[in-house]
């Protein structure tokens, strides 16, 4: 049953990917790529990675699609197709790379092999020891926040860098004057949209903290919670107008909180260092799981702050820009 489902999903993914290559309406392509992401989410759940599915749904399918559509509003919807042929270079490169990869898989452990090196070398430590060392059931959160917490700090910085970049590119004084936010849902017409949004946004506001604080026990954590809250704010901006969103969360505040999130994460490391431990060694806050709990809460909060604000900020920057 599961393998049938897997084959079905993979086939659907293939169909979507090929359709993307042939469609010239960018809006359709953006929606298709959102569907591609969602289908991957299903595959991730099937492959026992609910945390990844969760994040891909929020970030990959949600925020990415919204940003793409917001950009398409500014760059034009239709791709020019005049006299473009299939790219020989593209075909050759893709074929060569694909064959090379297939060759490389020939000696790989088969799919699901419990004796594969990946399942027998480092991973068992996480599975067997994390309960005692970190003290929380969700191993992904343990690895993400503690064992490989430094990667996660880097990732938070990547998100911050993206915001910085978009601010420089789209927000600077050297770029075009800001246009008024366009096309909010109209009070007299879009009743359904407004009603649904009014219902959804408060629910989402509750969901985000739950995902944040329950990340130790179930799939979730700072990234997902941040993307959910950011998504709620984006939805608010989409339906009630970007001006309303700006009034509720001014950009300056978002910028400050996004930076503070990175500083909270890094600051946690600096504090552990000042307490005579290694960078990001949460045992500085207390022996055993209690110290880890303090550290994880702090860094997850930092991630949450940065991700929420950056996602909202990115959307604001694209949405606020006037169409030329």
């Amino acid at each position: 049953m599961e393998s049938l489902l897997m084959i079905g999903l993979l086939a659907a993914l293939g169909a979507i990917a090929i359709t993307v290559a042939f469609m010239s309406d960018l809006l359709v392509v953006a929606m298709l790529s959102g569907i591609f992401s969602f289908t991957c989410c299903a595959l991730f759940v099937l492959f026992d990675a609910p945390d990844v599915a969760f994040t891909e749904a929020c970030v990959g399918a949600g925020v990415s699609t919204v940003l793409t559509i917001a950009a398409i509003r500014l760059v034009g919807r239709h791709e020019k197709r005049g006299g473009r042929r299939a790219s020989v270079v593209g075909l050759v490169v893709a074929t060569v790379c694909g064959l090379a990869l297939v060759y490389g898989t020939l000696e790989l452990p088969r799919f699901g092999d419990p004796a594969s090196p990946a399942s027998t070398h480092v991973a068992p430590h996480y599975i067997e020891e994390s309960k005692g060392e970190i003290g929380i059931p969700n191993i992904v959160t343990s690895v993400l926040g503690s064992y490989r917490g430094y990667d996660t700090m880097g990732e938070t910085v990547v998100v911050f860098t993206a915001a910085l970049g978009v601010l420089i590119l789209l927000g600077g004084a050297q770029s075009r004057p800001l246009g008024r936010g366009e096309a909010p849902a109209r009070r007299d017409r879009d009743v359904i949209l407004r009603t649904v949004a009014t219902l959804f946004i408060p629910m989402t506001l509750f969901l985000a903290p739950y995902v944040q604080f329950h990340g130790a026990y179930s799939p979730g954590g700072g990234f997902q919670a941040g993307a959910i809250l950011g998504g709620a704010l984006i939805l608010y901006g989409l339906v009630f107008g970007i001006d309303a969103l700006n009034k509720m969360v001014p950009e300056r505040i978002l910028r400050v909180i996004a930076a503070l999130g990175v500083l909270l994460y890094g600051g946690t490391g600096v504090v552990t260092m000042l307490m005579g431990h290694a960078f990001l060694d949460y045992y500085a806050f207390g022996a055993g799981p209690s110290g880890q709990a303090i550290g994880l809460t702090a860094i997850e909060l930092g991630v949450f702050m940065t991700v929420t604000c950056v996602m909202t900020l990115l959307f604001q920057r694209f949405a606020i820009r006037g169409v030329m």
């Binding site: 990917a17 945390d51 034009g76 490169v93 969700n138 915001a163 050297q174």
Partner: protein
């Protein structure tokens, strides 16, 4: 033969990856290139997650009912990579918006003559619009 069947998921994912890569190389529209890049990256994520699957395993959330768990490490790596992906996408989209404003087009073939080293220097965003392609449809 059984071995080959066990490798099938990897091959399917490789097909997806290469479709994405093809779109990146072959498509002339900058936004479409970015979307192709997204497909390429997400397919690589699927490869990672597929690698972490263990027969009969459950998601790596400890529970007394289960004994076999799938590998948590690929999940962690891919969580990182997903966020990196959206960050790259955001910067890429911002660049294509600026390119549209500066050159009036985001089609590679129209950009080529405008970006040749011999083309005279044009400063700032208030550039002339050389083509009107897609102008009237800027509002979806």
């Amino acid at each position: 033969m059984k071995d080959l069947v066990g490798l099938f998921p990897y091959w399917a994912v490789i097909m997806l990856m290469m479709t994405g890569l093809y779109i990146v190389i072959a498509q002339g529209n900058l936004v479409k290139k970015l979307i192709g890049l997204g497909i390429f990256q997400v397919s690589v994520f699927v490869l990672y997650i597929a690698v972490g699957v263990v027969d009969g395993g459950t998601p790596p959330i400890l529970d007394d009912e289960f004994a076999v768990y799938s590998n948590p490490l690929p999940s962690v790596l891919i969580l990182t990579a997903i966020v990196v992906g959206v960050a790259t996408l955001a910067v890429g989209l911002a660049l294509s918006v600026r390119i549209r404003e500066a050159f009036g087009t985001i089609e590679e073939e129209d950009l080529l003559p405008l970006t040749a080293p011999t083309h005279p220097v044009v400063t700032g965003p208030e550039a002339e619009t050389d083509t009107n392609a897609g102008r009237e449809e800027t509002r979806p």
